[in-house]
Symmetry: C2
Subunit: 406 residues, 2 copies
Amino acid sequence: MLKFIDGGVCAAQGFKASGIHVGVKTNNLTKKDLALIVSDGEANAAAVYTKNIVKAAPLIISKAHLSDGKARAIIANSGNANACAPFGEAYAERSCRAAAEALGISQKDILVASTGVIGQTLPVEVIEKGVPALVSALSANGSGDAAAAIMTTDTVMKECAVETQIGGKTVKIGGIAKGSGMIHPNMGTMLCFITTDCAISAKMIQKALVETANVSFNRISVDGDTSTNDMYCLLANGFAGNSIIAAAGGEYDAFLEALKALSVYLAKIMASDGEGATHLITCTVKGAADEKAAETLSKSVISSTLTKAAVFGADANWGRVLCAMGYSGVEFDPEQVSVAFSSEAGSIDVCKNGRGLSFDEALAKKVLTVHDITLDITAGTGMGECTCWGCDITYDYIKINGDYRT
Amino acid sequence: MLKFIDGGVCAAQGFKASGIHVGVKTNNLTKKDLALIVSDGEANAAAVYTKNIVKAAPLIISKAHLSDGKARAIIANSGNANACAPFGEAYAERSCRAAAEALGISQKDILVASTGVIGQTLPVEVIEKGVPALVSALSANGSGDAAAAIMTTDTVMKECAVETQIGGKTVKIGGIAKGSGMIHPNMGTMLCFITTDCAISAKMIQKALVETANVSFNRISVDGDTSTNDMYCLLANGFAGNSIIAAAGGEYDAFLEALKALSVYLAKIMASDGEGATHLITCTVKGAADEKAAETLSKSVISSTLTKAAVFGADANWGRVLCAMGYSGVEFDPEQVSVAFSSEAGSIDVCKNGRGLSFDEALAKKVLTVHDITLDITAGTGMGECTCWGCDITYDYIKINGDYRT
């Protein structure tokens, strides 16, 4: 019943979006840098944020504006993180006010987000000046423009929508996201904005965001750096006409399943589009003591700089996989570990019971040269299983981050 | 009274060393790959090892041989880690037996260590065949040869010795070390072999190793990967003639001070010689709640891939410093944080009270282009202070690790 559809954040009934260039990104005049997502009616809303102690100003403001569990719109800029910057909170509020005035709604119903360089003053006048044009550009086909306007070093637009049946009604959920570097989400995630026409209470949205973040964005890593600006939020305007989901149960589960499919899809593109990445690494750990242990082991492997460098070099250096498992903090018996590498080019067993197997190096090279590669790890005889996603580390990652500010 | 001297592991009375090429490294016939350090008489000894759950076979054997607190010699090969490899422990014992027979001492008095590729069978016959020549090469000037023979991707030989006065006697302590990648020590460290003519009990050696590892090797990081082979051991033959140190007190403190100076020196060269590194980063955090909090904050900064990439690009991207502090797990008030970058080219304040300062970008570039750079961070008003050492991440790191096995 669950199916992927087009339309991104505009797929659900009653949502419009836009994205334009206003000048926050001064180094490229053609790149969009300001996005807006608006619900035609009141929407319940909630968000989860970064656990980094250093929090960007827009997160503080969005959290305050969400205290009533309602929101109508999200304004987001790229090119400047508005984190550790002078007048951070005041300028985040000014972005909200500009959007509120142009839309004719309450400033408290606007959420705000920023992404880009940390520590530089937000050029808020540029945003204020651009807002009328941004509002004029709002359209039911605007999801792609909004997705483009929140990109920084991203090379791929991150947009997705799903449709499911809840309480006899067709419900749509759509999202856009950005994230390429400083990606190692913890509870919150990169910027990810979700819209739905499902009727669901703010409390249940919050619960669903936490549950889905934990199995999607919190299971990817690009570089181990947890951002100051991570934010994952959802607006639900109820236009689908289902009776409101206000408690756990079958309808909540159907919503959760759809939101999870959407979020995992977006998280995987985020890992795949990691700064400079040439490989998406899917790492599945089975046989751990429990799911948490499997997750810690898998995350340790996809976060290991040495494993990532080996994948870049298409080198089946499985010793680094065992090494990363060994320092993860999870107890396991190295003598029970098996490792296989696979991709559409084939599959190759490289380690069994903690000892190296002799394998065909030429085939291994071929398997690892494909973009999407899978590491299948058996950690023991337990029931715990988990999949996490990462990417390789490349010359381009170093190039991109050696001089990001200019 | 404490002074640095020449001689490495042969500086202390009654120690000889050698290092030759026997063929473990098959890709370069001129590179030394087998090292031996021998005490002319019985020596008390102790070691600390990696906390990685996946432990290389030589560590298991060395630990067993050290159960009596005595050792006479250390045999170590580079080119093969003998970790997760078939017949690991049996082959580590065979290396010990070959050395014991050639030296005419007990096999139980030999410690063994390996470093190199994980998961490949140790070519133990090559080692056995090479041992007689290795023993013939033993010399009181052999420390440099031994240091060279444990190098893998190291570009700089790591050797140091100090002299101090203990109980009216001149005591010497010398060490050699290796370590360039997979460096993020936890309790143990990379290979580091220390010799001394000081008379000190195995129990006090153990205590001194733990105390000094915690403030030297455990405060450096190259890539966040804790090796399977880390080992830091010390042989004390008592030839200096001081009365044996068997308890805490002034003489133990003098020994500890000397061992700490030696170990910090070796740890700093290790960080500076990180794979592909072009900068040594010294990061001092002051004003934290306590020393442990300062250490966690400093380690998080030197381990941040994004901060390392910024240093490589000589980009004063202090936002990444705050970001890394923020996800370290330590509580602090971002509004109290100040950051300055300095080097022999000058000093520049970039952040005060959690907000960016406008600074001279050209000067910042100049400051950060020097090899040794310092990050001075004030985290608050506490008394906790700690310095950790790291290095930048570069194209060469990716190149070295993209295809390490061949």
